[in-house]
Amino acid sequence: MSIDLVFKIAIVGIVVSVLHIVLKQAGKEDIAQIVTLAGVIVVLVMVIELISDLFVMVKTVFQL
């Protein structure tokens, strides 16, 4: 549980947006969309894993 996950996601965000712009310049609009979607999905998987940890911990602490 450290802060590098936040930076990993930020890096993915920056890389995806740069790739999107580069691919758009190259005229490959559809691939750009796919790359963006892939980036979002990868980040979503990481975030969901972290949220499930949070929910499990809240359940144990608050005896929900």
């Binding site: 549980m1 930076f7 712009i21 979002v40 809240v58």
Partner: protein, 127 residues
């Protein structure tokens, strides 16, 4: 002190989000969500410590265990609902946030009913 780390990381993450937001708003939202979760996980240890102390005090004052556990549940529900509603509001979805909060209020009401009944019973016994 953790507070220094939290404030420092908060500022850094805010700047990062500002970098990402124009191109990829959805990723910026996920970055802020992850930071919120991390801060809460850091604090959860402290909260469980406080809860243990409360439990010991309630046992010593032989208060009924049911009341304390209900109050804990209500606090947990309130916190998670507020967390979710705030994230939805950050994303601009005010209506979803309102629905989440409405559901949380109803759940808390349902949980509070036994306590209300207990209070009324004791009042009636007094009279």
């Amino acid at each position: 002190m953790e507070i220094l780390q939290i404030v420092g990381a908060g500022l850094v993450v805010t700047v990062l989000i500002l970098v990402i937001k124009p191109q990829r708003p959805e990723l910026a939202l996920q970055v802020s969500l992850v930071f919120g979760v991390l801060v809460f996980l850091l604090i959860l240890g402290k909260i469980s410590g406080v809860i243990h102390v409360l439990e010991e005090l309630s046992q010593r004052a032989n208060i009924n265990q049911f009341y304390l556990s209900t109050i804990l549940k209500i606090i947990g529900v309130a916190y998670i609902a507020e967390f979710g509603a705030q994230v939805c509001r950050d994303a601009g979805e005010g209506s979803i946030a309102a629905k989440v909060e409405l559901a949380a209020k109803v759940i808390i009401m349902v949980m509070a009913v036994p306590i209300i009944v207990a209070i009324l019973d004791s009042l009636i016994k007094l009279a």
